[in-house]
């Protein structure tokens, strides 16, 4: 019977998104035992509520940052400064709003958003300039802004936590639109935009080409400098939106802690999603899955009541397992006894005698 199923199952089993999906499903199922009605999604006052919705809503900033990070990593780079950009964009927007006469004025809030995002894009472009224009290694180039950016954010907030009381601004991170949390809508829009730019237009091919072999790309006539600038600026933009979302959700800007360590979670999400740190092929869908896994993990840690002092250790443990499961080399070793006959079956598929022998051993 297993032989008749195998041809049907093989495409599924070989799909590179298989393991992230399995892991996400496992984490969600785990929650079922600890939280009553974990999978229940209900409508209250025309808004969708439920644990699943919450995971996406609270995971939205991470998904955004990870999307930008995916493209940067695909060019064989890395951006450590996204956390600082998150803090800067939130701080600038909140500073602007806090000094408005009427904090609820739509025009004022829009200006604040434009300022925050504009600065984020500029900071991203600065990273791009250091990497592509001057030729500094990405990890060092972005480390500069990672450290300095925290300082900039604190300069903007004057070392204080700026609180705002603006209902239009609150919409970004805490509001609802068309029954969905507004953050989820933003994520969908950015994901759609990224997918359009990279997969419908040819940006994705050029990014993968530059990441796969920079010199060969230059000789094929690709303006790799331009591609790199664009990718880092886009990553800055994504981090900027995430920054607005985070500060809007709590109606305040904290230069010190907003987006702290989010770069590491984002890199992790990208890697779990199957994009190699060595550059080249990238997967947007994988990254979204990766970010959701990390957010679900965070939620799970709270819901199953892991003691606070061991949460980091627990997270590390799960992440290690996830990464091992993702590695074909590890799977090969771990499941060797099951794989051997399977490999032999495909090798001697033409020889009937051989097939029968395998049938017995399987």
């Amino acid at each position: 019977m297993s032989r008749t199923l195998r041809p049907l199952l093989n495409p599924v089993l070989r799909h590179r998104m298989l393991w992230p999906v399995v892991i996400l499903a496992a984490l969600l199922l785990l929650n079922l035992f600890f939280t009553n009605g974990f999978f229940k999604v209900e409508m209250k006052d025309g808004h969708l509520y439920g644990s699943l919705i919450d995971i996406v809503r609270f995971g939205a900033p991470l998904i955004l940052v990870s999307l930008g990070m995916t493209l940067v990593i695909a060019t064989c780079g890395i951006d450590l400064s996204v956390g600082s950009i998150v803090a800067i964009s939130g701080a600038l927007a909140c500073l602007w709003i806090s000094e408005l006469g009427d904090q609820n004025s739509i025009g004022g809030v829009l200006t604040a958003v434009a300022l925050g995002l504009g600065l984020s894009v500029a900071l991203g472009a600065w990273n791009g300039f250091l990497v592509a224009g001057i030729g500094i290694q990405p990890i060092i180039a972005t480390l500069i802004l990672m450290v300095a950016g925290r300082g900039v954010a604190q300069l903007i907030t004057d070392g204080q936590i700026i609180t705002v009381n603006s209902s239009p601004y609150k919409l970004i991170g805490g509001g609802y639109w068309l029954t969905l949390p507004f953050g989820i809508i933003i994520v969908i829009a950015v994901l759609a935009l990224t997918a359009f730019l990279t997969r419908r237009l040819a940006l994705g091919l050029l990014i993968e080409s530059v990441g796969g072999n920079a010199e060969a790309s230059r000789l094929a006539g690709i303006r790799s400098r331009g591609v790199l600038m664009m990718v880092y600026a886009f990553c800055g933009l994504c981090a900027g939106i995430a920054g607005l979302m985070i500060s809007s959700n709590v109606s305040s800007a904290d230069g010190n802690n907003a987006g702290l360590w989010i770069e590491l979670d984002a890199i992790l999400a990208v890697v779990i999603g199957g994009t190699s740190l060595a550059g080249g092929r990238f997967s947007l869908g994988g990254t979204v899955l990766g970010a959701l896994i990390i957010q679900t993990l965070t939620t799970t840690i709270y819901s199953i009541g892991v003691p606070p002092e061991t949460t980091l250790l627990f997270k590390a443990l799960v992440v290690t397992i996830v990464c091992l499961l993702q590695s074909p080399a590890f799977r090969e070793k771990a499941f060797r006894r099951r794989r051997r006959p399977a490999a032999a079956a495909s090798a001697s598929a033409e020889e009937e005698a051989g097939e029968e022998r395998v049938g017995v051993s399987a």
Partner: protein
């Protein structure tokens, strides 16, 4: 003449991969003290046979005997312990470590856990002396030429008490002098009774060094011959399994046309005047006309590639001027050259040509897409048309546009790279060593293609280390020596490889 007992005997070797019989009942034997060439096109099963022999693959059928005893290797280490050492095409050593460290890495002489550095250096020097090489073994490997690095790899292989030494394409990145040095070493090892299995695409080298050869085709044994008893034409015929009429026919063509080709065309397609770059190439003057094939001959490092890179804008010219179609231009980037319909296939396919993780389709459309910019994607249907057309025209194997390019053989990778530029319909195609490291069949196809393209009006700058090939295809040959273009010779009946060699050697201007 009775042959000594073979050190290695393989009988009825079979190896199957999903969907392919890579080896099918292959017999192979290796005598002590001989250089044995393993011949065949790409995909004939040479690499598989070597991998079976070195324990990388299990065999499905047949048996291997080493020095009269039946063996089965569990892995490369097991084969190595049994005395079978391999030096691969790409030297896999650590260039940042010293020569001595490279030879003894993992097997450092130790006492009480401490590495005995002095003893290690001493033994390394002794080993290299066996190969008649006298260098500073404490210097980093990177400070030596590729040939020396190859010798170090061989020294490392020999220290493991090798009885069988496998050299897989050891000469593909060496120049003539370095090859001669390698051959001296091989002859010495032969005298010491070591059996050497030698794989190379250079027929001349095979005939120079090997005593005996085994020919494979499509995973089957075609035959085993004494090198002295098989002519080159017969050998090639056996390798590709058909007559070489195609190659012969090509032979006479360009020479017959050469008289009319460069005459009577007022505006040359490309005109470089005193173009040069310090440290790379002395100022040179070169014109190329439409439909003309200009060959560049010279030793490795003589400046052939440097000329190509200047004409493509891959490097900036320091001096001189460049006109394309009569218009003065300065090529600051490859992109600028591409927009003027100049295309360049680098000699270094892997580092400067292909994107290994992308598919055949993506690699083929890459330059066209780059020229259009990312905002104007090539519609999928047009992609399919273009890619299918060139997969057919160049007979790229396997004919699957979604195959990753890194899974293709060298010859087919070269064709993918050619296809990338051909869809741009360039006016000048610069080919730097397009036939290096690819098999005879693919080589003939690429040569035929060059002839066809130039008939169609495309100008071609053809760079190759093989003088026969340059002569066969070119209307005019530029000769380089020590980073200087020393002569430009019209191709005619009086131009032979001998005169070319002489010009390269003497550097005489004609």
């Amino acid at each position: 003449m009775t042959a000594p007992a073979p050190i290695l005997r393989m009988t009825g070797i079979g190896k199957q991969f999903p969907g392919v019989k890579a080896l099918d009942g292959v017999d192979f034997r290796l005598l002590p003290g001989e250089v044995h060439a393993l011949m065949g096109e790409n995909g004939a099963g040479k690499s598989t046979l070597i991998k079976v022999l070195t324990g990388v693959y299990d065999i499905d059928a047949g048996e291997i005997e080493l020095a009269g005893r039946k063996v089965a290797f569990a892995g490369p280490q097991a084969a190595q312990r049994a005395g079978i050492s391999t030096v691969y095409q790409e030297v896999n050593l650590c260039t940042n470590l010293s020569v001595a460290e490279n030879i003894f890495i993992g097997r450092e002489p130790r006492r009480l856990g401490r590495i005995q550095w002095r003893r290690m250096r001493q033994r390394a020097a002794e080993l290299l002396a066996r190969l008649e090489i006298d260098i500073d073994v404490s210097a980093p490997l990177s400070s030596y030429s590729l040939a020396i690095q190859q010798m170090v790899a061989i020294a490392r292989a020999l220290d493991i008490e090798a009885r069988v030494l496998i050299l897989d394409e050891p000469t593909s990145s060496l120049d003539a002098g370095e090859v001669a040095q390698l051959f001296r070493v091989m002859r010495r090892l032969k005298e010491q009774g070591i059996a050497i299995l030698f794989v190379s695409h250079f027929l001349d080298q095979i005939y120079e060094i090997s005593d005996r050869m085994t020919i494979l085709r499509n995973g089957r044994l075609v035959g085993e011959h004494l090198t002295s008893e098989l002519s080159q034409i017969e050998l090639v015929g056996k390798m590709i399994g058909r007559e070489l009429a195609d190659l012969e026919r090509l032979g006479a063509k360009p020479a017959a046309e050469s008289s009319e080709s460069s005459a009577g065309k007022p505006v040359p397609l490309l005109e470089a005047r005193e173009l040069g770059r310090t440290g790379a190439i002395e100022p040179f003057t070169l014109t190329i006309h439409e439909g003309e094939v200009v060959g560049l001959a010279g030793l490795l490092g003589s400046g052939r590639t440097e000329i190509a890179r200047l004409l493509f804008g891959a490097d900036h010219a320091g001096t001189g001027s460049l006109r394309i179609g009569g218009e003065q231009v300065s090529l600051r980037t490859p992109r600028a050259a591409v927009s003027r319909k100049i295309a360049f296939c680098s000699e270094n396919r892997r580092a400067e040509g292909l994107i290994p993780d992308l598919t055949v389709r993506e690699n083929i459309i890459l330059a066209l897409q780059a020229a259009r910019g990312w905002t104007r994607p090539i519609p999928r249907r047009r992609q399919d048309e273009l890619v299918d057309k060139y997969i057919k025209a160049l007979s790229i194997r396997p004919p699957d546009p979604d195959q990753l390019v890194k899974n293709l053989s060298g010859g087919n990778q070269q064709k993918v790279l050619l296809a990338r530029w051909l869809i741009l319909e360039p006016r000048l195609l610069i080919l730097d060593e397009p036939t290096r490291g690819i098999d005879v069949g693919a080589k003939a196809e690429i040569q035929r293609l060059v002839a066809e393209l130039s008939d169609g009006g495309m100008a071609v700058l053809f760079i190759s280390a093989e003088l026969e090939e340059v002569l066969r295809l070119s209307h005019r040959v530029g000769v380089l020596r020590d980073r200087r273009l020393v002569a430009q010779l019209e191709n005619g009946d009086d131009l032979t490889t001998d005169t070319l060699t002489e010009t390269i050697a003497s550097g005489a201007r004609s």
